[in-house]
């Protein structure tokens, strides 16, 4: 909403500087987002950028002048000489303006004298240039008569600006027309401020003064309107009120200059006096109006009295709107029709056929109120945002229909010499009832948390034109003024009105003093952050990628035919579904990082979205993805380059994570993660592991890994080398890439909520090494489990320190060398105890795994 302050001042005094006015309006909810200075310098202290290049009209050099005579240029057909009186002197200028011709005299124009800075009308970028004396075809011109374009008022011009006849000769133009236009961002709740009066009411309430309402008296002619038009509303839900007035014998012509300029500054284009008046009243009151050519309506009614019908469009109907477009209509569109069919798109745009034009002699003025939702939908459907549809779709109080219509017809009488038929033909189908709200001082104080004085409350509400009646001790019955629709939900709405006018900055800040709630944040969020921290200490860089992805991108990890949460309206095919896998996205980032850095360790901890059969919402699960590639260590100037990260870097990282989560430590958790050889399509078939969560009791069972798919085991993810076939898909080059993907939601129920810290042993640990020969087919983990099973509880730690194949080892066997740490909490272990335990372990290994003790 553009508000020219010169116009606003008609309704209310502006007691502040422009900067302070802007600040106060902004704080009260009418945000000033920009401004335009018209012929005057930017206001002091207004910390906004001007949206418009505009010259400052010099008080001495840009003045109002009267045309004394227009003469032909002696040497040029298209040029004229204009003799001007500018109050303190006379001079002659040369002009090429098409709207001055020999014989014109008495016209008021704008004279710019040498030195005045104006917009260069010939420069495409609207550059500002000082005016120089010029000899035009031999005649010296010491100034020029200006167009609206050169003055910075309009973007286009048809000749020079002709001022209204009462413009005072000699007055500086800045004094006569100079203005500041504020650009306001009007919130949906403040739709009433899409009008000059609405803004004036805000200023009035903020500065504690009354609004000067414009007059709405009409000087009627002898005829009655009621006999000249009939009105029917088919659906009062869609049109609560429709009123018409009839104005005869109008003379359609350009509007007076002051009116055209006001519309221009407010952002509307002048058309003719009738249309301009409807727009002027729309801007003044916020009530859209529409003018029909009455004769055309009567023609359509075959000479009968026109019958306006507000109804839904019927199938097959269409309407050619003012912009010349023929628009097919549907049942959801509300139209203004007569007996012959639609004549306007209600509240959106008029029809071309019944438009007011230069020949129009009689006008039917529509002032009506339409359903916001319908208008909004229709304007959207046809992509026809207009000043009218903007206001109707935000809601206009139907009581405004009458004053706006009266104001408009009186202008038409005065400015277009029309005769107004008596009366408003008015069908008020759904008059909103009076809105009354009970308000108590205690409520205001409780809600605000500060005792705004009672008198201030009353003064503010009355200043906003609420009627306040005492309803008891410090309670009131407040009646909402009949221009507002936003007070719908009782006293909370009134508190907002009170506080925004009182000033938020006057409320002393406090902190909540109520006791804190007793419930506790769920544990998973804390674990999630802990996992991030652990991975960071393990040298990993966190990434966060889009949850929106494409099925193609993820197919290698998700497979064919998986169900996705799909978008109905994606902005791009690459972002059309919610992901089911993190890895595909993290690999895309890895590829990007590998272009300029050889080494990476990336992780993402985020959601995947798995649709569930028969459920409305997907399962949103937190997953973890890890990607490792490139040298184990960063490049350094000394020594050879580091070997690349491999499977065991990845495994070490994950083991570090599980250990830090206390997963799998004897006295702490209830489950541990087992690494099983596996086969998944996206991992190297010989370097792939399934991570399986197993209850800790499995140590004491005789079940091996082969039976780990029992009920008590739970697959939580995979880790291994990314399948080399996928490198090209993700543009990863030829280096080995190691990846892991874990379902954290499966993990957290098994993470111990707390752990018991063991005493620091005061008796020395005893380390004993043990090397055994086993079949190649026996995995290390199996051997470890057997050692543990036999050595517990004095066996504290088992650590594999060497794997050996080669000379002295039979074909098909391998040597595994373990370091065993024994420790008791209550005594120093004797050599005899140790050797007994070691023997027990060896026996068990021989029995269950056919292992052989390797000679020490």
């Amino acid at each position: 909403m553009k508000v020219p302050l010169r116009w606003l001042k008609e309704y209310v005094d502006l007691p502040w500087s422009v900067a302070e006015l802007a600040e106060r309006l902004t704080l009260a909810g009418l945000e000033v987002t920009g401004f335009r200075a018209v012929g005057v310098p930017p206001p002091t202290g207004l910390r906004l950028k001007s949206e418009f290049v505009s010259p400052v009209w010099d008080e001495e050099k840009v003045v109002i002048a009267e045309v004394l005579e227009v003469r032909k240029h002696p040497d040029a057909d298209r040029l004229h000489l204009v003799d001007l009186n500018y109050g303190t002197g006379c001079l002659t200028v040369v002009t090429g303006a098409t709207n001055l011709k020999p014989g014109d005299r008495g016209l008021k124009v704008v004279l710019a004298r040498v030195g005045a800075v104006l917009i260069d009308g010939h420069s495409p970028e609207r550059a500002l240039r000082p005016l120089k004396p010029a000899k035009i075809r031999g005649v010296l011109s010491e100034g020029m008569v200006c167009s609206a374009l050169e003055l910075g008022i309009a973007d286009e011009h048809e000749g020079i600006l002709i001022l209204d006849p009462d413009a005072p000769v000699g007055m500086p133009l800045a004094e006569y027309l100079g203005d500041i236009v504020l650009e306001l961002d009007v919130l949906p709740s403040m739709a009433r401020c899409l009008s000059m009066l609405g803004v004036a009411r805000e200023v009035a309430a903020l500065s504690e003064q009354p609004v000067r309402y414009p007059p709405t008296e009409v000087l009627f002619g002898p005829q009655e309107a009621a006999t000249q038009v009939h009105i029917s509303i088919e659906d009062a839900n869609l049109c609560s009120r429709y009123a018409a007035m009839v104005i005869d014998s109008v003379r359609v012509a350009p509007s007076p200059t002051w009116l055209q300029l006001r519309l221009l500054l407010a952002g509307m284009r002048p058309i003719n006096n009738i249309v301009d008046i409807t727009n002027y009243v729309l801007l003044e009151w916020g009530q859209p109006l529409h003018a029909f050519d009455y004769e055309k309506l009567r023609d359509r009614a075959h000479g009968h009295v026109p019958h306006i019908i507000v109804r839904r469009a019927r199938p097959g109907e269409s309407l050619t709107t003012l912009d010349g477009q023929q628009r097919p209509l549907h049942g959801e569109h509300l139209v203004i029709a007569d007996t012959a069919g639609p004549i306007a798109l209600a509240g959106v745009m008029g029809g071309l056929e019944t438009e007011v034009g230069p020949e129009t002699q009689k006008v039917l003025l529509e002032s009506a109120n339409f359903d916001p939702v319908t208008i909004r939908r229709t304007a959207r459907h046809f992509d026809l945002p207009s000043e009218a549809s903007l206001r109707f779709s935000r809601g206009v109080h139907p009581d405004l229909v009458e004053p706006a219509a009266r104001r408009a017809v009186e202008w038409m009488r005065q400015l277009a010499q029309g005769t107004v038929a008596r009366g408003l033909v008015d069908v008020y189908a759904a008059r909103p009832s009076e809105q009354r709200v009970h308000l108590s001082l205690a409520y205001v104080h409780r809600m605000v948390g500060y005792a705004i004085p009672r008198d201030d409350i009353l003064r503010i509400l009355r200043g906003l034109e609420f009627t306040v009646d005492e309803a008891g001790e410090d309670t009131w019955l407040v009646t909402v003024p009949r221009h507002r629709l936003d007070v719908q939900h009782g006293p909370a709405d009134l508190v907002e009105e009170i506080v925004r006018i009182y000033g938020y900055h006057r409320i002393p800040p406090t902190l909540p003093r109520e006791p804190l709630p007793d419930y506790q944040t769920p544990r998973d969020g804390q674990i999630e952050e802990r996992i991030r921290d652990i991975l960071v200490t393990l040298g990993c860089q966190e990434v966060i990628t889009y949850s929106l992805t494409s099925i193609e991108r993820e197919r290698p990890f998700v497979g064919e035919g998986a169900d996705y949460v799909r978008l109905l309206n994606p902005i791009h095919p690459e972002r059309s579904v919610l992901r089911r896998s993190l890895l595909a996205s993290v690999l895309a980032i890895a590829a990007q990082h590998l272009r300029d850095s050889p080494r990476l360790r990336l992780f993402e901890l985020g959601y995947v979205y798995l649709p569930r059969a028969g459920e409305k919402f997907p399962d949103e699960r937190r997953h973890l993805a890890l990607v490792l590639c490139g040298p184990r260590l960063a490049e350094f100037w000394e020594g050879a380059s580091s070997p690349p990260q491999d499977f065991f870097d990845l495994k070490g990282l994950l083991e570090g994570l599980f250990e830090a989560l206390h997963l799998g430590q004897a006295s702490q958790g209830n489950a541990r993660v087992a690494w099983q050889p596996t086969n998944v399509t996206w991992l190297h078939p010989r370097r792939a592991a399934a991570l399986v969560l197993r209850p800790l009791q499995s140590h004491t069972t005789t079940k091996g890994i082969a039976s780990s798919s029992s009920d008590t085991s739970l697959l939580i993810g995979y880790a291994g080398q990314l399948h080399p076939q996928l490198h090209d898909t993700y543009e990863l080059g030829r280096r080995e890439v190691y990846v892991a993907q874990l379902d954290l939601e499966a993990l957290w129920p098994h993470l111990p909520e707390r752990f018991t810290c063991r005493a620091v042993a005061s008796f020395p640990p005893v380390r004993q090494d043990l090397a055994v020969l086993v079949d190649e087919s026996i995995v290390a983990e199996r051997v470890r489990e057997e050692i543990f099973a036999a050595g517990r509880p004095l066996l504290r730690e088992v650590h594999l320190f060497d794997v050996y194949r080669g000379p002295n080892i039979p074909e098909g066997k391998k040597s595994l060398a373990w370091s065993l740490t024994f420790q008791a909490e209550d005594r120093t272990l004797t050599d005899k105890e140790i050797s007994k335990l070691v023997q027990k372990i060896v026996d068990r290994l021989e029995k269950s795994l056919a292992a052989q003790l390797r000679a020490p």
Binding site: H489, A492, L511, R513, Q541, Y546, F617
Partner: protein, 353 residues
């Protein structure tokens, strides 16, 4: 005179010793378990009894002398070693250090934690709710019935399941919290990813994080809201930040406000207050565009309709809600000019945090 010969031989050899290895073999040759001195002592048995004490004394004296000489030599060698190391090992201290491979949190996580930590100290616990929502919770229960004009403020991604959409803000979480905890008091923050149907530009993203705050009780007031947000702004942006509150509009709060903080770059130089008489021309500050203020969040008192939908009786309960964008906060705090950097995960971006 055998002993005197031994002494001379030993001292002469010790003189010639030049390193620790030679010293240690000299030590075992003379002073070791089977060294020459031990052998000399053993010969005492062959002597007549009256000569034995004197011989024993001589051997002991010799042993002490050799020990002392050994210690002297040892210390001498050590000093030589130090002198050598001091002379030889002059490092180029300007060579780069061996890189330590440091992991990092994504800047969005870091900023999110900063925000949540401040609110945690103000008593707000974290609550999470789903990202895939329905129209009912994302809009209707938040006082936006179908065709409500305020819905235009949120451009929405719809899914192929009718009525199911990607949440456009964290506010639907308010409904979930209230329904879970009613009628107990509430003080939570709801962090999470939100989605908007928008073009991706330097200023707008299709997904972004939000932190919603919600406090419900019998006396949680607007003044409490202002105090809470003012504390947050000071703690997050540091210094003597001032906040400015503008009236605003959200369908789910009443009154609704927007909060600006004075510009952290130009210190909100001379930002006009209602009574200030500002005279500075529009400055060229790139962050606040010369206005002196940065818009940081929206907030308000929970709308009575929303309270009712959450199960709370607005006659008895009241509270406030706020919503802020961690990405916007990070952009303001660190001078980031392009929101796309966050999910691009550009290495040079991540490695600055």
């Amino acid at each position: 005179m055998e002993l005197e010969q031994l002494r001379q031989q030993a001292l002469a050899q010790l003189e010639a010793v030049a390193d620790e290895t030679a010293l240690s073999s000299w030590n075992s040759q003379y002073l070791g378990k089977n060294g020459l001195l031990t052998q000399a002592l053993k010969r005492i048995a062959q002597l007549p009894p009256q000569e034995r004490p004197s011989y024993g004394q001589q051997v002991n004296a010799l042993k002490e002398a050799l020990l002392a000489a050994f210690e002297r030599k040892k210390s001498e060698l050590h000093q030589q070693e130090i002198a050598r190391s001091l002379a030889a090992e002059a490092l180029d201290v300007t060579l780069p250090g061996r890189p330590v491979l440091r992991g990092r949190l994504h800047p969005a996580t870091q900023v999110m934690r900063d925000i949540l930590a401040i609110f945690a100290e103000l008593g707000f616990q974290v609550y999470r709710s789903r990202e895939v929502e329905d129209d009912l919770t994302n809009f209707e229960l938040l006082n936006m019935p179908p065709h409500h004009p305020a819905r235009d403020l949120w451009d929405t991604f719809h899914t192929t399941v009718p009525g199911v959409l990607l949440r456009t803000h964290t506010s639907p979480g308010q409904i979930h919290v209230m329904r879970q905890y009613c009628p107990r008091p509430i003080r939570v923050v709801l962090p999470g990813m939100c989605y908007r149907y928008e073009q991706i530009t330097a200023r707008s993203e299709i997904q972004f994080q939000q932190v919603e705050g919600l406090a419900i009780g019998e006396s949680i007031s607007l003044a409490d809201l202002i105090g809470t947000l003012s504390t947050f702004a000071k703690r997050f942006f540091g210094g003597d930040r001032r906040i400015r509150i503008r009236n605003s509009y959200f369908p789910f709060t009443e009154p609704s406000i927007e909060v600006d903080v004075d510009c952290i770059l130009c210190q909100g130089e001379n930002a006009a207050g209602p009574s200030a008489t500002a005279t500075l021309p529009v400055s060229s500050c790139t962050l606040c565009k010369g206005t002196g203020w940065l818009e940081i969040l929206g907030a308000g008192m929970v709308h009575p309709v929303v309270l009712r939908h959450g199960g709370y009786d607005p006659e008895r309960f009241q509270g406030f809600a706020f919503g802020l964008g961690p990405q916007r906060m990070a952009m303001l705090k660190y001078g980031i000019h392009d929101i796309r950097l966050f999910w691009s995960n550009a290495r040079h971006f991540l490695e600055q945090f």
